[in-house]
Amino acid sequence: MNFDLTSEQQMIRKTMKEFADEVVAPGAIERDRTKAFPKEIFKQLADMGMMGLPFEEEYGGAGADTTSFAIVTEELSRACASTGITYSAHISLGGAPLHLFGTKEQKEKYLTPICTGESFGAFGLTEPNAGSDAGGTETQAKEDGQDFVINGSKVYITNASYAKHLALTAITDIKDGKKEISAIIVPTDAEGFTVLDRYEKMGLNASNTTELILENVRVPQENLLGKKGNGFRQFLVTLDGGRIGIAAMAVGIAQAAFERALSYSKERKQFGQTLSSFQVTQFKLADMAMKIELARNMVYKASWLKDEGKPFTKEAAMAKLYASEIAMEIADQAIQIHGGYGYMKEYEVERYMRDAKLLEIGEGTSEVQRMVIARQIGC
């Protein structure tokens, strides 16, 4: 057993902590208000070589491990969860499927621009009637000569406005009444491909969430990602990794809420004492610190298992489920400690709560995580 981060991981943490405090945090309230996508921040992250963090060097990546990815995602999310989710989706949903299932040619063509930051990474799975329930998928890709012709729509797709291409799931065949789902890489500037950025969200306002509409979009069949008919299975694997990202985001938000609550409670005086000298506040803060520690440990464990090539589906689901639920709780309690001030945007804790809520929903709801865990423990 060894709980130490490697020297690289420590240096990444220190660098990203500084970057998050100095570059990401200052505009977070304003971006939440104006819904401005943090383009400049990502330009800097690209210059720092962070956009291809876990991918092979030959495609412009840095060959770092999953724990490092979790550290970067946590630190960015601590300062601005919109920046955190953009990064997490870019790596774990956009880049990862290409990295895992792409051919050498596909990686050169599609993974490289993701690593350099020239394109954001995105992933098209969710549909109006399908998410974790893949059977509801309606988007169709029909073979036509050398091409696929794709029709359908996707919802809640992160980063697509800034992606040059993305992988999406579509029905490629129906066998014995069962849908055969495959993954196909589609350039976002293809004819008939529309990306709509028009949602009004509860939080994560500076992240890009889109609808995709595909009307007779034609791509060559060589754009098939992985094996035909394996689309859904591939996406389950991808989501396992994505859940580590969501869990790391949750730890970051929870940490931010805790830090705010701790420092406020040491300054704020009522009845002649600081809030932190009241046992009721101390207990709240102690619980927060404990839950964050547990959540972070679970994120690291899932990351470690993944890097060791061991099964990590259960642990990733546990990390995601636990971290997102405690992030919500801690954000709620941080507001409570702030009292009326906490309800004001200026104090940031209300944003943490709005941002954290998505983490109990995206990449599999808390209920779906429990289903995954239940299946893993043999129910």
């Binding site: 020297s7 690289e8 240096m11 660098t15 500084e18 720092m48 070589g49 962070m50 840095a62 060959g63």
Partner: protein
């Protein structure tokens, strides 16, 4: 261009510092590269990128300082040298540090040596100039701009908030002031490669230095935290009464006259 940067590991003054028994508690303190040395590292990397050559970062201290050297390597320095004095010396002062560094540097044919203007812990600002003096080369302190053209170096230095423009010749030692540049964040590929870059560890023996030659010439009498700031007082009444009161307060309370 053969470039050396003198780097010091210091505690982070933005984090909580605890003093017990006349010493700063190292447990729980955060350690960083002295911020002024970061400007020096950044400038060295920029000069190398423009002129070619090699950047070597040098520090004095114990094993722990390896972290700060690796950070400098991750920023883009080529080589690092740790002169480990942990076993030989209990105390180092500006004299000992400068002597050891000069002994290390004397046969290195450095074209340019950079350091921070001061370290945020000791704050003496002496080591850089002393090293230059021992090496017999020019030095310019608190610089905010550096332009190299052949052997000639154009420098702007900060003089109490004003600027002084001057020219010097290589080889040269300069110390960096805030405003010289914006130190970069280490890049991820830089971090991943930092471990593979050469880090040489030397002891006093390797430099043929006798412990007695570098014995500190100063002693630290006491270390204490600045007094807690208390609210100021505004004197009232007639001007002449105020002056009288002020003088008596300066005498009896502040004990400065």
């Amino acid at each position: 261009m053969n470039i050396f940067v003198l780097v010091k590991r210091t505690f982070d003054t933005e984090e909580k510092i605890v003093v017990t028994g006349g010493a700063i508690q190292e447990d729980g303190a955060e350690f960083i590269i002295n911020p002024y040395d970061e400007y020096a590292i950044e400038e060295a990397i920029q000069v190398r990128d423009a002129q070619g050559g090699e950047v070597t970062v040098v520090t004095l201290g114990g094993e722990d300082a390896e972290k700060q050297l690796r950070t400098a390597l991750a920023m883009g320095a080529d080589k690092a040298v740790l002169i480990n004095t942990e076993d030989d010396l209990d105390e180092l002062d500006q004299f000992s540090a400068a002597y050891i560094l000069a002994e290390y540097l004397k046969d290195k044919e450095a074209d340019l040596i950079l350091g921070g203007n001061v370290a945020i812990d000791g704050g003496s600002g002496q080591v850089g100039p002393r090293v230059a003096e021992l090496l017999g080369i020019n030095y310019v302190t608190t610089i905010t701009k550096l332009e190299i053209d052949g052997k000639t170096v154009k420098i702007v230095r900060d003089v109490e908030g004003d600027s002084e423009v001057l020219e010097a010749e290589l080889p040269l030692l300069v110390t960096a002031q805030q405003g010289l540049n914006e130190p970069r964040y280490p890049s991820l590929p830089g971090i991943m490669k930092a471990k593979k870059k050469p880090l040489e560890e030397l002891e006093l023996d390797d430099l043929d230095i006798d412990e007695d030659d570098v014995k500190a010439k100063t002693t630290t009498v006491e270390i204490y935290l600045p007094a807690q700031k208390v609210a100021g007082r505004v004197l009232e009444g007639d001007l002449s009464d105020q002056v009288k009161e002020l003088v008596s307060l300066l005498h009896s309370e502040a004990k400065v006259v």
